[in-house]
């Protein structure tokens, strides 16, 4: 069931997507160029920059850490963020109005300051292990997406449906999972994607919260760039994009990316 779209709208949107995609071809071209520096259009064709990534062990170990942290951090943020978003929308009257703004703070505070403060007052102060602080730092970093983006979907949700289900004897948790969640799945998926990408690309927080033996991919990329100027980094970007397609496929299979187009 679709409403008609004005052709001009479709034209503008197509142009926007074209512009969003264009630089990616440049990056893909640079990643397969048979030159030891970034160039476009590519000169020759090689996959050696891709194999180069796998030859450098640090890329592999940091990529694993980054993926773990991004998945776990996003999962934890959604686990505590969705209930918070629900409470903020459902019990507007009974919660103080400032509370919803608390969840924007991780975005308001410049990341580098957050990273520095966390290291100074948490890692050193509480003597937590490096990995734990890094994970909690990332959870905090992506929490705003979980709370605010899911909250935006909940804002247009009609809670009387839920009330009806509960009054018919359905337990609250089951009602939430079967009635509320399907209606806000678009928001949850959007929040998941945004959070995951924010986490996997994060530099400032990781800068301070990584430590001996624990490092993330962006930090490794930066280290590589300080000394080498070859297209390896462009290949890493390409692989990250392929990874996203993979993640999206998983999301599609489990939550449904198409948001149950009715």
């Amino acid at each position: 069931m679709q409403t008609k779209l004005h052709p001009a709208l479709i034209a503008i949107a197509s142009l926007i997507f074209l512009i969003l995609i264009a630089p990616l071809f440049i990056i893909l071209g640079a990643a397969v160029s048979d030159t030891p520096f970034l160039t476009f259009p590519p000169q020759g064709f090689t996959l050696k920059w891709f194999s180069n990534i796998f030859q450098i062990e640090a890329f592999r170990t940091t990529a694993i850490t980054s993926l773990q942290i991004a998945f776990l951090g996003t999962f934890l943020a959604l686990l505590i963020g969705i209930p918070a978003a629900y409470a903020l929308n459902r019990f507007k009257i009974r919660l103080p109005s400032w509370l919803s703004n608390v969840f924007v703070l991780p975005i308001l505070v410049p990341e580098i300051v957050l990273g520095f403060s966390l290291m100074k007052n948490i890692t050193i102060g509480l003597q937590l292990p490096v990995y734990t602080t890094l994970l909690l730092g990332h959870t905090l970093l992506v929490l705003p997406y979980a709370v605010r983006v899911v909250g935006a979907s909940l804002a247009s949700f009609d809670f009387s449906i839920e009330e009806a289900a509960i009054s018919l004897g359905c337990p609250p948790l089951k009602t939430f999972l079967t009635v509320v969640l399907p209606n806000i799945s678009a928001g949850v998926v959007a929040a998941f994607i945004l959070a995951f990408i924010t986490s996997i690309n994060d530099v400032s927080i990781s800068l301070f919260l990584t430590g001996p033996g624990v490092s993330t991919l962006p930090i490794q990329i930066l280290a590589h760039m300080e000394q080498f100027f070859d297209p390896t980094i462009a290949s890493v970007s390409v692989l990250l994009m392929l990874l996203t397609v993979g993640v999206m496929a998983i999301v599609e299979a489990t939550l449904g990316l198409t948001f149950l187009t009715k």
Partner: protein, 335 residues
């Protein structure tokens, strides 16, 4: 529950008797592993973990931890000087580093009793000989009228940035430390020739390869990449000389494995390691015992002759002036 699994993974690694923690950049990890880490592990029977990141990040973290957490820290000399000023390192006992005796004098004790240098480099000017005529032969050539909008300088916050200020002082015939006004007047005149200042080597290589810049003030390790991008890029033979940069190793004051750290530093200064690293294109040697073929030496700052011609910077003065210089530099370039 997922958290529990991860935690188990991190605590599961049983603590070994001895673990040496090394803080360093993190590039060239595989060659470092093959040439240095694996052989050293065999000698010491210990475990080795790394903390990686660039100079500023790692030094900031060491300061936050009050000099604890790592046993050996690799830094470029401009940053190790900050670490010394902040009181983060131990003084080095030369008796524990027998291999010091084989090093060039410049590397033995570059910073008043602290860590030695394990490799050496230089900062100079690289230009496109096909487009820049006459060739560049002095730091003063940067101000030439024909180079309008063609130069890329290192940003003031990079290792080589403040060196530009010192040369600007010389251009105005003053010492930049005592007469910053005049030096920055010169920098102001240079602004017309600057396309963009860079903060990382890759940024600079991109600027040159895309034709935004034809002249760059840079460290020697970038030359190979510049030549790959633009074959006519040439290292300028400057009458007033290049500037030395050293990479140092220090033992932080909070190190818990001091003896092991000395053993490690002595190991990387040995002739064998210095030779392998130089032959494989990892680091230029500072051991006088290392012999390289002209072909191998081509990319390095190598040999008594070349090393004696380099200018050394006074980093103590530099670090005192740096905050003020950064402001003045921004005043010129960010308005």
């Amino acid at each position: 529950m997922a958290l529990g699994i991860v935690m188990a993974g991190t605590f599961g690694a049983a603590a070994q008797a001895k673990t040496l923690t090394i803080s360093w950049w993190g590039y060239n990890g595989d060659k470092l592993n093959a040439n240095i880490i694996e052989p050293f592990k065999k000698i010491c029977g210990c475990d080795i973990v790394f903390e990686t990141g660039n100079n500023a990040d790692r030094l900031n973290k060491l300061k936050l931890r009050d000099g604890k957490g790592v046993d050996v820290i690799y830094l470029t000399d401009s940053f190790s000087q900050i670490g010394i000023a902040e009181g983060l390192f131990q003084k080095v006992d030369p008796a524990k580093l027998p291999n010091l005796a084989d090093l060039y004098d410049i590397a033995k004790n570059p910073q008043g009793g602290y860590g030695p240098a394990y490799t050496i480099g230089r900062v100079g000017i690289v230009y496109d000989s096909a487009k820049v005529n006459p060739p560049i032969t002095s730091w003063n050539d940067l101000w030439r009228a024909d180079l309008k909008g063609a130069v890329t300088l290192p940003g003031i916050t990079t290792t080589a940035g403040p060196m530009v200020v010192l040369q600007a002082g010389k251009n105005a015939k003053v010492d930049a430390f005592s007469d910053a006004d005049k030096a920055f007047e010169s920098i102001g005149k240079l602004k017309a020739n600057v396309a963009k200042n860079y903060n990382t080597g890759s940024e600079m290589v991109n600027l040159v390869s895309t034709g935004e810049a034809k002249v760059a003030v840079t460290q020697d390790f970038t030359l190979a990449s510049l030549k790959a991008a633009v074959p006519t890029m040439t290292w300028a033979q400057l009458s007033d000389g290049d500037i030395a940069t050293l990479n140092t190793v220090n033992i932080p004051k909070g190190s818990e494995n001091v003896e092991l750290a000395y053993q490690f530093i002595n190991f990387i200064l040995s002739k064998e390691i210095q030779q392998i690293e130089a032959e494989q294109g990892v680091d230029a040697p500072v051991s006088t015992k290392v012999q390289l073929t002209p072909e191998q030496a081509k990319i390095w700052t190598y040999g008594a002759d070349m090393i004696s011609k380099l200018n050394r910077l006074d980093y103590v003065k530099l670090n005192q002036a740096k905050t003020d210089w950064i402001d003045r530099w921004n005043e010129i370039f960010s308005k």
